[in-house]
Symmetry: C2
Subunit: 148 residues, 2 copies
Amino acid sequence: MGGNRELAERFIASLEARDWDAWAGLLHPAVVYEIPQSRERIRGRDRYLRFNQEYPGDWHLRPKVTIADERHGVVWFEWLLDGRTDDAMAFFEFADGLITQVTDFWPEPYEPPPGREHLVERWLPSPRSGSRRSHRVGFADGSGARCP
Amino acid sequence: MGGNRELAERFIASLEARDWDAWAGLLHPAVVYEIPQSRERIRGRDRYLRFNQEYPGDWHLRPKVTIADERHGVVWFEWLLDGRTDDAMAFFEFADGLITQVTDFWPEPYEPPPGREHLVERWLPSPRSGSRRSHRVGFADGSGARCP
């Protein structure tokens, strides 16, 4: 379990360092990567490596919370790109000391619905927050630019 | 740690059951609940209880992955409301056998940016997926109805 926690920590650290050999060494050759929000799946270490190597922009990742057990793990991390920052999370499955599945989520800011102001306080937006990784913004119908 | 994992499991199960006494019994009286996407914070068990009791709609929660250690935990769960379903996740902090902090995330579907089709396969949208809890949709400028 300590080993799996370390796998999750090294996953983020080696991505941040662009240490591709170290990063790929954490992954099972048949690893599956999924992004449920866009219904995308990448099969295999080689393609997943290429996906990250080709990922545009000077992005940075900073882990906030890492949790792991003998089978599953998660890193809740902060991403930074083009002067913006926000939270994201990567879930992992482990087997035999390698990562066999990665599933990540990229939540978007939104305005709360009315009706709960009597219970809630709000904090001010960070000058660095408020938008998804720029290359992830954009919808097929062109509406993306208006979405938070 | 087993205790904290059980706290996280019971958090979701008692919410799903609307067993408010059981649910509130898991929480520290000074628990803090945060929704980073909407920059909302609720302080204290009483207000957080009321927030959930007042939450509109016949919502349901189904846990998918639960992970916990001596300090932190997470439940990645599926929510269902009005014939729709999607993923969300709640992170926890624990102290003395109680939940002291809850932070949850409600990721939205989005279309992938172009340029990675050579690496990626996509799966079909579920007939039940594709929209945030209806009462969470809507932005201050009225654009919400167009956002995924």
